[in-house]
Amino acid sequence: MSWLDRQSFLGPDSDQVLQDLTVGLVGLGGGNSHVVQQLAHLGVGGFVLVDDDVISETNLNRLVGGTLEDVLEARPKTEIAKRVVLSVNPEARIACHQAKWQEVAEHLRACDIIIGGVDRIIAKSELEAFCRRFLTPYIDMGMDVHRLGDADEFLVAGQVVLSSPSTPCLRCLGVVTDSALTEEAGQYGDAGGKPQVVWPNGILASTAVGLLVQLFTPWHGRPVRSAYYAYDANQGTMTVSERLGRRASKDCPHFPPDEVGDPRFDIREVVTRAETPIERGTIDTVPLAEPKHRLTALLAMVLDLLPFKVRR
Protein backbone atom coordinates (compact mmCIF):
# COMPACT_ATOMS: atom_id res chain seq x y z
CA MET A 1 0.00 0.00 0.00
CA SER A 2 1.44 3.35 -1.05
CA TRP A 3 0.18 6.85 -0.35
CA LEU A 4 0.04 7.24 -4.14
CA ASP A 5 -2.13 4.16 -4.80
CA ARG A 6 -5.13 6.19 -5.87
CA GLN A 7 -3.22 7.65 -8.81
CA SER A 8 -1.84 4.36 -10.12
CA PHE A 9 -3.74 4.95 -13.38
CA LEU A 10 -0.88 7.32 -14.23
CA GLY A 11 1.15 4.25 -15.11
CA PRO A 12 2.83 1.28 -13.46
CA ASP A 13 6.06 3.22 -12.98
CA SER A 14 4.47 6.61 -12.32
CA ASP A 15 5.47 6.69 -8.64
CA GLN A 16 9.11 6.28 -9.59
CA VAL A 17 8.94 8.71 -12.50
CA LEU A 18 7.43 11.38 -10.28
CA GLN A 19 9.85 10.60 -7.48
CA ASP A 20 12.80 11.03 -9.87
CA LEU A 21 11.43 14.28 -11.24
CA THR A 22 12.98 17.61 -10.29
CA VAL A 23 10.75 20.62 -10.84
CA GLY A 24 11.98 24.20 -10.75
CA LEU A 25 9.53 26.77 -9.44
CA VAL A 26 10.47 30.37 -10.08
CA GLY A 27 8.38 32.83 -8.12
CA LEU A 28 6.53 31.35 -5.16
CA GLY A 29 3.71 33.84 -4.83
CA GLY A 30 0.07 33.14 -5.59
CA GLY A 31 0.28 30.78 -8.57
CA ASN A 32 3.24 28.63 -7.67
CA SER A 33 2.16 28.32 -4.05
CA HIS A 34 -0.72 26.22 -5.39
CA VAL A 35 1.56 24.39 -7.81
CA VAL A 36 4.12 23.38 -5.20
CA GLN A 37 1.41 22.06 -2.93
CA GLN A 38 -0.11 19.95 -5.70
CA LEU A 39 3.27 18.62 -6.80
CA ALA A 40 3.98 17.52 -3.25
CA HIS A 41 0.68 15.62 -3.12
CA LEU A 42 1.49 14.05 -6.49
CA GLY A 43 4.71 12.61 -5.11
CA VAL A 44 7.14 14.73 -7.11
CA GLY A 45 10.48 14.07 -5.46
CA GLY A 46 12.70 17.04 -6.32
CA PHE A 47 12.15 20.77 -6.04
CA VAL A 48 14.28 23.79 -6.81
CA LEU A 49 12.46 26.69 -5.17
CA VAL A 50 13.50 30.18 -6.21
CA ASP A 51 12.12 33.49 -4.97
CA ASP A 52 14.00 36.44 -3.53
CA ASP A 53 11.02 37.78 -1.62
CA VAL A 54 9.57 37.32 1.84
CA ILE A 55 5.86 37.07 2.54
CA SER A 56 4.03 40.30 3.31
CA GLU A 57 0.58 41.01 4.64
CA THR A 58 -0.86 41.62 1.18
CA ASN A 59 0.24 38.13 0.10
CA LEU A 60 -2.05 36.47 2.61
CA ASN A 61 -5.07 36.76 0.30
CA ARG A 62 -3.61 34.19 -2.05
CA LEU A 63 -0.36 32.55 -0.94
CA VAL A 64 -1.30 28.98 -0.09
CA GLY A 65 0.47 27.81 3.05
CA GLY A 66 1.27 31.33 4.23
CA THR A 67 0.22 32.32 7.73
CA LEU A 68 0.00 35.48 9.76
CA GLU A 69 2.93 34.23 11.79
CA ASP A 70 4.98 33.96 8.59
CA VAL A 71 4.17 37.61 7.88
CA LEU A 72 5.26 38.64 11.35
CA GLU A 73 8.48 36.68 10.91
CA ALA A 74 9.00 38.04 7.36
CA ARG A 75 9.58 34.45 6.29
CA PRO A 76 11.01 33.82 2.81
CA LYS A 77 8.45 32.48 0.38
CA THR A 78 10.84 29.65 -0.44
CA GLU A 79 10.79 28.52 3.17
CA ILE A 80 7.00 28.52 3.24
CA ALA A 81 6.89 26.41 0.08
CA LYS A 82 9.48 24.06 1.53
CA ARG A 83 7.39 23.63 4.67
CA VAL A 84 4.31 22.87 2.57
CA VAL A 85 6.15 20.19 0.62
CA LEU A 86 7.77 18.55 3.63
CA SER A 87 4.48 18.43 5.48
CA VAL A 88 3.20 16.13 2.74
CA ASN A 89 6.39 14.35 1.72
CA PRO A 90 9.24 14.45 4.24
CA GLU A 91 11.46 12.58 1.79
CA ALA A 92 11.34 15.28 -0.85
CA ARG A 93 14.63 16.70 -2.13
CA ILE A 94 14.39 20.45 -1.83
CA ALA A 95 16.82 23.18 -2.77
CA CYS A 96 15.75 26.63 -1.56
CA HIS A 97 17.22 29.75 -3.09
CA GLN A 98 16.14 33.10 -1.72
CA ALA A 99 17.58 34.88 -4.71
CA LYS A 100 16.77 36.14 -8.14
CA TRP A 101 16.64 33.16 -10.49
CA GLN A 102 19.44 34.54 -12.64
CA GLU A 103 21.75 34.30 -9.63
CA VAL A 104 21.04 30.59 -9.19
CA ALA A 105 20.49 29.62 -12.81
CA GLU A 106 23.01 26.82 -12.56
CA HIS A 107 20.75 25.05 -10.07
CA LEU A 108 17.76 25.44 -12.35
CA ARG A 109 19.60 23.57 -15.08
CA ALA A 110 19.15 20.45 -12.97
CA CYS A 111 15.40 20.64 -13.41
CA ASP A 112 13.36 18.42 -15.70
CA ILE A 113 10.81 21.19 -16.11
CA ILE A 114 10.44 24.76 -14.87
CA ILE A 115 7.21 26.47 -13.89
CA GLY A 116 7.17 30.23 -13.88
CA GLY A 117 4.99 32.18 -11.50
CA VAL A 118 6.36 35.56 -12.45
CA ASP A 119 4.29 38.66 -13.10
CA ARG A 120 6.43 40.76 -15.37
CA ILE A 121 6.46 40.12 -19.11
CA ILE A 122 10.21 40.63 -19.27
CA ALA A 123 10.66 37.99 -16.56
CA LYS A 124 8.57 35.52 -18.53
CA SER A 125 10.58 36.22 -21.64
CA GLU A 126 13.96 35.82 -19.94
CA LEU A 127 12.99 32.67 -18.10
CA GLU A 128 11.66 31.06 -21.25
CA ALA A 129 14.86 31.96 -23.10
CA PHE A 130 16.87 30.23 -20.39
CA CYS A 131 14.68 27.15 -20.65
CA ARG A 132 14.97 27.02 -24.43
CA ARG A 133 18.73 27.24 -24.25
CA PHE A 134 18.90 24.24 -21.93
CA LEU A 135 16.11 22.29 -23.63
CA THR A 136 13.92 22.44 -20.55
CA PRO A 137 10.16 22.53 -20.95
CA TYR A 138 8.68 25.67 -19.44
CA ILE A 139 5.17 26.26 -18.14
CA ASP A 140 4.13 29.87 -17.79
CA MET A 141 1.17 31.07 -15.79
CA GLY A 142 -0.23 34.55 -15.84
CA MET A 143 -3.27 36.26 -14.41
CA ASP A 144 -4.63 39.76 -14.90
CA VAL A 145 -7.53 41.86 -13.74
CA HIS A 146 -8.77 44.36 -16.33
CA ARG A 147 -11.18 47.20 -15.72
CA LEU A 148 -14.11 47.08 -18.15
CA GLY A 149 -14.65 50.61 -19.42
CA ASP A 150 -15.55 53.22 -16.84
CA ALA A 151 -17.91 50.95 -14.98
CA ASP A 152 -17.00 49.39 -11.69
CA GLU A 153 -16.66 46.03 -13.41
CA PHE A 154 -13.66 43.88 -14.08
CA LEU A 155 -12.51 41.03 -16.26
CA VAL A 156 -10.42 38.40 -14.50
CA ALA A 157 -8.44 36.42 -17.04
CA GLY A 158 -5.24 34.50 -17.43
CA GLN A 159 -3.32 31.97 -19.41
CA VAL A 160 -1.23 28.85 -19.05
CA VAL A 161 1.36 28.07 -21.71
CA LEU A 162 3.49 24.96 -22.11
CA SER A 163 6.57 25.91 -24.10
CA SER A 164 8.89 23.09 -25.15
CA PRO A 165 11.95 23.15 -27.38
CA SER A 166 11.05 23.73 -31.05
CA THR A 167 7.40 24.48 -30.28
CA PRO A 168 5.72 27.92 -30.42
CA CYS A 169 7.19 30.22 -27.78
CA LEU A 170 5.61 32.98 -25.72
CA ARG A 171 6.41 35.48 -28.49
CA CYS A 172 4.91 33.23 -31.14
CA LEU A 173 1.78 33.00 -29.01
CA GLY A 174 1.51 36.71 -28.31
CA VAL A 175 2.05 36.46 -24.56
CA VAL A 176 5.31 38.38 -24.91
CA THR A 177 5.08 41.33 -27.30
CA ASP A 178 7.24 44.35 -27.91
CA SER A 179 4.36 46.65 -27.05
CA ALA A 180 3.73 44.87 -23.75
CA LEU A 181 7.42 45.04 -22.91
CA THR A 182 7.55 48.73 -23.76
CA GLU A 183 4.45 49.48 -21.73
CA GLU A 184 5.81 47.52 -18.80
CA ALA A 185 9.16 49.27 -18.98
CA GLY A 186 7.35 52.61 -18.87
CA GLN A 187 5.50 51.59 -15.74
CA TYR A 188 8.58 50.36 -13.95
CA GLY A 189 8.60 51.52 -10.37
CA ASP A 190 5.20 53.09 -10.78
CA ALA A 191 2.94 50.10 -11.20
CA GLY A 192 2.19 49.37 -7.59
CA GLY A 193 0.74 46.00 -6.67
CA LYS A 194 -1.22 44.34 -9.45
CA PRO A 195 -4.62 43.02 -8.45
CA GLN A 196 -4.41 39.32 -7.59
CA VAL A 197 -6.86 36.88 -6.06
CA VAL A 198 -6.66 33.29 -4.98
CA TRP A 199 -9.20 31.38 -7.05
CA PRO A 200 -7.99 32.13 -10.58
CA ASN A 201 -4.49 31.28 -9.41
CA GLY A 202 -5.78 27.93 -8.24
CA ILE A 203 -7.39 27.19 -11.59
CA LEU A 204 -4.32 28.27 -13.56
CA ALA A 205 -2.04 26.30 -11.25
CA SER A 206 -4.16 23.16 -11.54
CA THR A 207 -4.02 23.47 -15.32
CA ALA A 208 -0.25 23.84 -15.17
CA VAL A 209 0.10 20.76 -12.97
CA GLY A 210 -2.10 18.80 -15.37
CA LEU A 211 0.19 19.76 -18.23
CA LEU A 212 3.21 18.61 -16.26
CA VAL A 213 1.61 15.28 -15.38
CA GLN A 214 0.56 14.53 -18.96
CA LEU A 215 4.11 15.27 -20.08
CA PHE A 216 5.81 12.82 -17.70
CA THR A 217 3.15 10.28 -16.70
CA PRO A 218 0.43 10.62 -19.33
CA TRP A 219 -2.91 9.05 -18.56
CA HIS A 220 -4.01 9.15 -22.21
CA GLY A 221 -2.43 8.53 -25.58
CA ARG A 222 -2.10 12.10 -26.79
CA PRO A 223 0.30 13.97 -24.53
CA VAL A 224 1.28 17.37 -25.89
CA ARG A 225 4.55 19.31 -25.88
CA SER A 226 2.87 22.62 -26.50
CA ALA A 227 -0.27 24.14 -25.04
CA TYR A 228 -1.94 27.49 -24.61
CA TYR A 229 -5.01 27.68 -22.42
CA ALA A 230 -6.85 30.94 -21.98
CA TYR A 231 -8.86 31.44 -18.82
CA ASP A 232 -11.85 33.73 -18.52
CA ALA A 233 -13.09 33.89 -14.95
CA ASN A 234 -16.10 36.00 -15.94
CA GLN A 235 -17.32 33.31 -18.34
CA GLY A 236 -15.99 30.47 -16.24
CA THR A 237 -14.12 28.99 -19.19
CA MET A 238 -10.71 27.57 -19.91
CA THR A 239 -10.26 27.27 -23.66
CA VAL A 240 -7.51 26.25 -26.05
CA SER A 241 -6.26 29.42 -27.66
CA GLU A 242 -6.79 29.61 -31.42
CA ARG A 243 -3.40 31.25 -31.72
CA LEU A 244 -1.71 27.98 -30.82
CA GLY A 245 -3.46 26.19 -33.68
CA ARG A 246 -2.30 28.86 -36.12
CA ARG A 247 1.32 28.63 -34.95
CA ALA A 248 1.58 24.90 -34.25
CA SER A 249 2.87 23.88 -37.69
CA LYS A 250 5.32 26.76 -38.02
CA ASP A 251 8.91 26.84 -36.85
CA CYS A 252 9.60 29.17 -33.96
CA PRO A 253 11.77 31.96 -35.37
CA HIS A 254 12.76 33.27 -31.95
CA PHE A 255 14.72 30.30 -30.67
CA PRO A 256 16.72 28.64 -33.47
CA PRO A 257 17.53 24.99 -32.77
CA ASP A 258 21.28 25.56 -32.82
CA GLU A 259 21.19 28.24 -30.11
CA VAL A 260 21.32 25.80 -27.24
CA GLY A 261 23.74 24.98 -24.47
CA ASP A 262 25.98 27.20 -22.42
CA PRO A 263 28.04 29.25 -24.88
CA ARG A 264 30.82 29.49 -22.28
CA PHE A 265 30.92 25.77 -21.65
CA ASP A 266 34.38 24.23 -21.68
CA ILE A 267 34.82 20.56 -20.81
CA ARG A 268 38.41 21.22 -19.81
CA GLU A 269 37.25 23.55 -17.03
CA VAL A 270 34.66 21.00 -15.95
CA VAL A 271 37.34 18.34 -15.67
CA THR A 272 39.51 20.67 -13.61
CA ARG A 273 36.61 21.46 -11.29
CA ALA A 274 35.69 17.80 -10.99
CA GLU A 275 39.17 17.10 -9.72
CA THR A 276 38.99 19.91 -7.16
CA PRO A 277 37.39 19.35 -3.73
CA ILE A 278 33.90 20.85 -3.52
CA GLU A 279 33.52 24.10 -1.62
CA ARG A 280 30.10 24.21 -0.07
CA GLY A 281 28.42 27.57 0.31
CA THR A 282 25.89 28.64 2.86
CA ILE A 283 22.91 28.17 0.59
CA ASP A 284 20.45 25.69 2.00
CA THR A 285 20.64 22.95 -0.56
CA VAL A 286 19.99 19.27 -0.63
CA PRO A 287 21.66 17.16 -3.32
CA LEU A 288 19.09 16.69 -6.01
CA ALA A 289 20.20 13.63 -7.79
CA GLU A 290 22.68 11.75 -5.66
CA PRO A 291 23.89 9.13 -5.99
CA LYS A 292 22.97 8.97 -9.64
CA HIS A 293 25.09 11.85 -10.89
CA ARG A 294 23.30 13.03 -13.92
CA LEU A 295 24.87 12.75 -17.27
CA THR A 296 22.13 13.35 -19.71
CA ALA A 297 22.54 13.00 -23.40
CA LEU A 298 19.83 14.01 -25.76
CA LEU A 299 18.85 11.90 -28.67
CA ALA A 300 18.21 15.14 -30.46
CA MET A 301 21.99 15.17 -30.79
CA VAL A 302 22.35 18.26 -28.71
CA LEU A 303 24.36 17.91 -25.59
CA ASP A 304 22.63 19.02 -22.47
CA LEU A 305 25.39 20.69 -20.53
CA LEU A 306 23.74 20.43 -17.16
CA PRO A 307 25.10 17.06 -16.16
CA PHE A 308 28.68 18.16 -15.99
CA LYS A 309 27.75 20.88 -13.54
CA VAL A 310 25.96 18.43 -11.29
CA ARG A 311 28.72 15.89 -11.57
CA ARG A 312 31.08 18.01 -9.49
Binding site: P218, F265, L295, T296
Partner: protein, 95 residues
Protein backbone atom coordinates in the same frame (compact mmCIF):
# COMPACT_ATOMS: atom_id res chain seq x y z
CA UNK B 1 32.34 12.89 -40.73
CA UNK B 2 34.05 15.96 -42.12
CA UNK B 3 30.76 17.86 -42.39
CA UNK B 4 29.93 16.98 -38.79
CA UNK B 5 33.32 18.23 -37.66
CA UNK B 6 32.83 21.48 -39.59
CA UNK B 7 29.37 21.95 -38.10
CA UNK B 8 30.73 21.45 -34.61
CA UNK B 9 33.25 24.24 -34.96
CA UNK B 10 30.90 27.17 -34.37
CA UNK B 11 29.01 27.20 -32.14
CA UNK B 12 31.14 24.58 -30.39
CA UNK B 13 29.17 21.35 -30.34
CA UNK B 14 29.71 17.84 -29.12
CA UNK B 15 30.05 15.27 -31.86
CA UNK B 16 28.42 11.94 -31.19
CA UNK B 17 29.00 9.20 -33.73
CA UNK B 18 25.74 7.27 -33.91
CA UNK B 19 25.04 3.81 -35.29
CA UNK B 20 22.55 1.06 -34.61
CA UNK B 21 22.87 -2.59 -33.80
CA UNK B 22 19.13 -3.20 -34.06
CA UNK B 23 17.41 -5.67 -31.75
CA UNK B 24 15.97 -4.83 -28.37
CA UNK B 25 17.38 -3.96 -24.97
CA UNK B 26 20.47 -2.01 -24.04
CA UNK B 27 23.04 -2.35 -26.82
CA UNK B 28 26.80 -2.50 -26.35
CA UNK B 29 29.82 -1.44 -28.33
CA UNK B 30 31.78 -3.99 -30.29
CA UNK B 31 35.56 -4.14 -30.21
CA UNK B 32 35.50 -2.71 -33.74
CA UNK B 33 33.40 0.26 -32.52
CA UNK B 34 35.83 1.01 -29.72
CA UNK B 35 38.94 0.59 -31.84
CA UNK B 36 37.62 2.90 -34.54
CA UNK B 37 36.52 5.47 -31.93
CA UNK B 38 40.07 5.56 -30.65
CA UNK B 39 41.12 6.80 -34.06
CA UNK B 40 38.47 9.41 -34.77
CA UNK B 41 37.42 10.83 -31.39
CA UNK B 42 40.77 12.58 -30.84
CA UNK B 43 40.15 14.31 -34.17
CA UNK B 44 36.83 15.60 -32.87
CA UNK B 45 38.63 16.97 -29.83
CA UNK B 46 41.01 18.88 -32.07
CA UNK B 47 38.09 20.50 -33.90
CA UNK B 48 36.11 21.45 -30.79
CA UNK B 49 38.35 21.04 -27.73
CA UNK B 50 35.84 22.77 -25.46
CA UNK B 51 33.33 19.96 -25.88
CA UNK B 52 33.21 16.27 -24.99
CA UNK B 53 32.76 13.86 -27.88
CA UNK B 54 31.80 10.26 -28.17
CA UNK B 55 29.72 7.43 -29.47
CA UNK B 56 26.11 6.35 -29.31
CA UNK B 57 24.83 2.93 -30.25
CA UNK B 58 21.11 2.38 -30.66
CA UNK B 59 18.92 -0.65 -30.53
CA UNK B 60 15.29 -0.52 -31.55
CA UNK B 61 14.23 0.53 -28.07
CA UNK B 62 17.30 1.64 -26.14
CA UNK B 63 20.64 3.40 -26.36
CA UNK B 64 24.10 3.30 -24.87
CA UNK B 65 26.85 5.89 -25.10
CA UNK B 66 30.41 6.76 -24.25
CA UNK B 67 31.97 10.18 -23.90
CA UNK B 68 35.55 11.36 -23.84
CA UNK B 69 36.28 14.53 -21.85
CA UNK B 70 39.54 14.95 -23.70
CA UNK B 71 41.81 13.11 -26.10
CA UNK B 72 44.02 11.78 -23.32
CA UNK B 73 41.26 10.83 -20.94
CA UNK B 74 39.44 7.52 -20.61
CA UNK B 75 35.90 7.21 -21.88
CA UNK B 76 33.05 7.19 -19.42
CA UNK B 77 29.54 5.87 -19.98
CA UNK B 78 26.57 8.17 -20.37
CA UNK B 79 24.35 7.17 -17.48
CA UNK B 80 21.18 8.97 -18.48
CA UNK B 81 19.36 9.74 -21.68
CA UNK B 82 16.38 11.99 -21.83
CA UNK B 83 13.99 12.11 -24.75
CA UNK B 84 12.55 15.61 -25.00
CA UNK B 85 9.25 14.67 -26.54
CA UNK B 86 5.79 13.86 -25.30
CA UNK B 87 5.88 12.06 -23.05
CA UNK B 88 9.33 12.98 -21.78
CA UNK B 89 11.26 9.83 -20.98
CA UNK B 90 14.40 9.53 -18.89
CA UNK B 91 16.41 6.34 -19.21
CA UNK B 92 18.80 5.80 -16.30
CA UNK B 93 21.39 3.17 -16.93
CA UNK B 94 22.46 3.08 -13.29
CA UNK B 95 19.05 2.35 -11.80
Amino acid sequence: MRKAAQASYRPPSAILHVHTHGGRGRPGFSRVDLDSAASFVPGFAETAPRMPHGLLVLSNDSVHGLLWAGPDRPAFPINSFKRISAPIRADWSDK
